[in-house]
Assembly symmetry: C2
Homo-oligomer: 411 residues x 2
C-alpha cells in the first residue's frame, strides 16, 4: 500500500469531557482515528487538520445499546393508532396480524424511521426482533435488512428472526425461520414454548435445531409466569448445555424469575450464569420481573430494552435508552448513585456484552461510539435524560443537540 495523506474526516478530537462523570477526576480529551478511540487523556495534542469538538466539560457515555425492540412493528411518526385491543397475549398477536394485513404496514420505512430516532438519541447498537410468520412471510425481514444496510456505517443493527405467531401452530414457520437465517438474520428468536406453542419439548427441539444448524445465537421471549415459565426455562437450559450453546442464548422477559421462590430462582440463575445465558428486561412496571441485583450477583448479565415502541401492542416506549434506564431504575427502586450506575450499565456495557457487540467501551482500540450530555453524574444523566449534545458513531459525528446531521438523516 502506498502512503496516503491523512484524511481529516477519519480523525476527530473531542476536548474537555468527563468519561462516565469521572468522579473526582479531571476532564480529559478523546482522540479518534479511523473510527476507533485512539487515545484518552488530559490535554492531548491535535494532529494537524484534525477537526476539534469542544466538549464543555460534558459527561461522556459510550454509545447506548438497545437490547430488545421491534423496529418493524412501530408506528413511530405515523398517525396515532387508536388502541382498542383486548387483554390477552393472543388478542394482541391476532389484532396485529389483522391490522398489518389490512394496512400494508411498511416495515422497511418504519424500521428506518425508528432506527434513526434511536441514533439521534445516542443508540449506536441495537438488537431488533423481526416478525416472521406465514401471513407476512419474509416481508418484515426484507424490510429490516434494507434498514440495516442503509445505516450500516452509523449503527450496528442485529436482526432476530422472530416467530411472533408461534413456531408450531402455523405450518411452514420453521422453514421461514430457516430461510431467514440464510438470508442474513443474525439471531433466531423463540416464543413461549408452553403457552403459545403448547408443546414445549417439540417447540424447543425444532427451535434449537434450526439455531444449531446455522450456528446462530438464540433469543427466546419467555413471558410464561411462575412454574410454567420455570419449567420452560429448565428445558431451555438443558438444550443449551446439550448442544454446546454456552454464551449463545438470551432469555427475554423471563417474568417467571420474579415469581418463583428464592431457592428455585437461585438454582436457575446459577445454571444460567454457568451456561452464559443472559437476561433481557424492559422492566415493565405492571408485572413481576427477574430481580435485577440478585441476577447480577449470581453472575447473570442483565440487559435493558424497550420491547415494542408505539405499535399495536402498546402506545409506550421511546427511542431514548436513558429513559429506559430510568424506568429500569424506577422498577427496581434504584435510588442510590451506585445503583443508578447499574441501571445505566444495562443499556451500555451489559447491553453490548449480552448482545455480543464487540469493540465496545470508552477505552482505546474500541469503536468510537460516544455520547455527550450535560450532566454532573451518571445518576443525573439517567434521571434527567438531558439532550444529547453530541453523538459520534464509528468516529463520525452523527447528531448534535438530538438532531441527526443532514447527511445521516438522508441515509
Amino acid at each position: 500500500m502506498s502512503l496516503k495523506e491523512p484524511d481529516p474526516m477519519s480523525s476527530l478530537l473531542i476536548r474537555n469531557v468527563r468519561p462516565m462523570g469521572s468522579p473526582g477526576g479531571p476532564a480529559v480529551d478523546v482522540r479518534v482515528q479511523d473510527g476507533r478511540i485512539a487515545e484518552v487523556g488530559p490535554a492531548l495534542a491535535a494532529p494537524a487538520a484534525t477537526p476539534v469538538e469542544e466538549g464543555g466539560g460534558a459527561l461522556l457515555l459510550p454509545g447506548l445499546v438497545e437490547g430488545h425492540t421491534h423496529l418493524d412493528k412501530t408506528m413511530w411518526g405515523m398517525d396515532w393508532y387508536r388502541n382498542e385491543v383486548g387483554t390477552n397475549l393472543t388478542d394482541k398477536i391476532d389484532n396485529e396480524r389483522a391490522f398489518r394485513h389490512a394496512s400494508g404496514h411498511d416495515a422497511a420505512a418504519q424500521s428506518k424511521v425508528l432506527a434513526k430516532a434511536f441514533l439521534a438519541l445516542g443508540t449506536t447498537r441495537l438488537r431488533t426482533h423481526v416478525d416472521v410468520d406465514t401471513q407476512a412471510g419474509l416481508r418484515h425481514l426484507e424490510g429490516t435488512l434494507r434498514t440495516r444496510e442503509a445505516l450500516r456505517e452509523v449503527q450496528q443493527i442485529q436482526l432476530v428472526a422472530f416467530p411472533q405467531s408461534g413456531l408450531l401452530g402455523r405450518s411452514g414457520t420453521a422453514e421461514l425461520l430457516d430461510e431467514s437465517l440464510a438470508m442474513g438474520a443474525d439471531v433466531l428468536g423463540g416464543l413461549d414454548p408452553c403457552a403459545i406453542d403448547g408443546d414445549p419439548v417439540k417447540s424447543l427441539d425444532v427451535l434449537f435445531g434450526i439455531a444449531h444448524k446455522h450456528q446462530r445465537p438464540l433469543d427466546i421471549h419467555l413471558h410464561e409466569p411462575g412454574a410454567m415459565g420455570a419449567f420452560s426455562l429448565d428445558l431451555i437450559l438443558q438444550r443449551t448445555k446439550a448442544l454446546g450453546m454456552q454464551g449463545k442464548v438470551a432469555i427475554s422477559h423471563g417474568f417467571c424469575l420474579g415469581d418463583v421462590g428464592e431457592r428455585e430462582r437461585e438454582a436457575l440463575l446459577a445454571r444460567m450464569a454457568k451456561l452464559g445465558v443472559v437476561l433481557v428486561t424492559s422492566a415493565p412496571p405492571s408485572r413481576s420481573v427477574p430481580p435485577l441485583l440478585a441476577c447480577r450477583q449470581a453472575g447473570v448479565t442483565v440487559l435493558g430494552g424497550n420491547d415494542g415502541i408505539r405499535d399495536t401492542w402498546s402506545p409506550y416506549g421511546n427511542p431514548d435508552m436513558l429513559e429506559r434506564a430510568m424506568i429500569i431504575g424506577l422498577r427496581y427502586n434504584l435510588r442510590r448513585d451506585d445503583e443508578l450506575e447499574v441501571a445505566l450499565d444495562t443499556v451500555t456495557h451489559s447491553g453490548a456484552r449480552g448482545c455480543g457487540f464487540e469493540q465496545y467501551g470508552l477505552v482505546p482500540g474500541n469503536r468510537a461510539d460516544l455520547v455527550l450530555v450535560d450532566a454532573q453524574t451518571v445518576a443525573q444523566a439517567v434521571v434527567a435524560r438531558p439532550v444529547r449534545r453530541l453523538v459520534v458513531s464509528g468516529g463520525r459525528v452523527v447528531a448534535r443537540q438530538g438532531v441527526l446531521q443532514p447527511e445521516v438523516a438522508a441515509l
Copy 2:
C-alpha cells in the same frame, strides 16, 4: 361602580384548538374574560382589542394538577446530591433531617424554583406537603408560604403541614402543627400511625383533634403495607365518620390496598367511597399499589402525584404531570386509548376534585387554566409528553414552548 373601558389584558381569544382531542369533532375557539373561560365554540367573534392566540389545531387540556409533592425538600436546579442513603424509611427521614441541618437547605427558594418549573409545564394547581418538625420548626412552612404568596396570581398552591418525622415521637410536634394551621397551612398531614408513631389510636386521635379544631382537611401518608396498613386505614375511616369529616380526608400512597385480599379491599373501598375519602398515588413501579380501576369502580377518586422530586429521598420525579400520567399508565398497564384517558384524569379532573380545587375544567365559568400541546389524542399527549406550546393560568399567558414568560419567571 362606574362603567370602565374593557381592559384588553383581561381578555384573550384562543383560536383553533381541540378540547381533550375532540374525537371526531371540529376544532373550536376559547374566549377568556376576566380570568375565566367565557365561551367555547366554533369561530367565536373577537371583541375589539382582544389579544388572539392561534392554537394551530393543538390539543387543549385543562391546567394540570399535582396532587402530592414536596416542594420544600427539592434540590431541583442545585448541584447533584449524591445519594448514599440506607433502605429503611427511618434511614431516609434521619438522613434528610441531618442533611438539612448541615446544609441550611433554603425551602423558600427551592420551593419557588420547582413551583415555577411545574407552571412552565402546565401545572396550574398543586398540593405540596411541607415538613414540620421540632428541628426545622416552621421554617419550611414560612418558606413555602412565601412561595404561595409570590405565585398567587398564576398558580394555586395548597400547603399541607406534614409531620415527616412523626407526630408523637418528638414532643412539641402537635403544637407546631396546630400553629401551622393558624399560620395559613391549608391541610393537615399525617404519617403512618403504627409504623412511625407506634401508637395508632393516640396518633390518630391527636391528628384528627387538630384537624377538627381548625376545620381543615387531612392528607395522611399511609405507607404501611398489608394488614397493618388496613388496620390503620380502618381507624382513619372510623374517625372520619365519627367527626363528620366526610369529603375532607385523603389517603396518600395506601399501599396496603394493593396487598390485602379482594374481599377486604372491596369493603375498605366501599367505606372510603361512602365517606368521600380519596386516594393519592405516585404509582411507584417498585411497590404494590391500590388497584386504580377497581378503586374508581368502587367510587373512590384517585389522583396522581410525584411525591418528592429530586431530593435526599429519591433522585426521580419531574415537574411534568404528563410524565406522571405516563408512569401511572405504565404502572397500571393502561394501553388502550380509553385507559390512557383515565391516566390523564388522575392529573386533571380527579386531581382537582380530590384536592378540592374549584372552578376547574374546560367549560365556561371556570378559571381559565389551559394547556396546549401538539398531539392528536389525549393518549398521545400522555405517552409523548409534547412540549407545552402554550400555558394559560387564570386567563393569563404564563409560558410558551415550555418557557415561562419573563414577567412570570421574575415573580
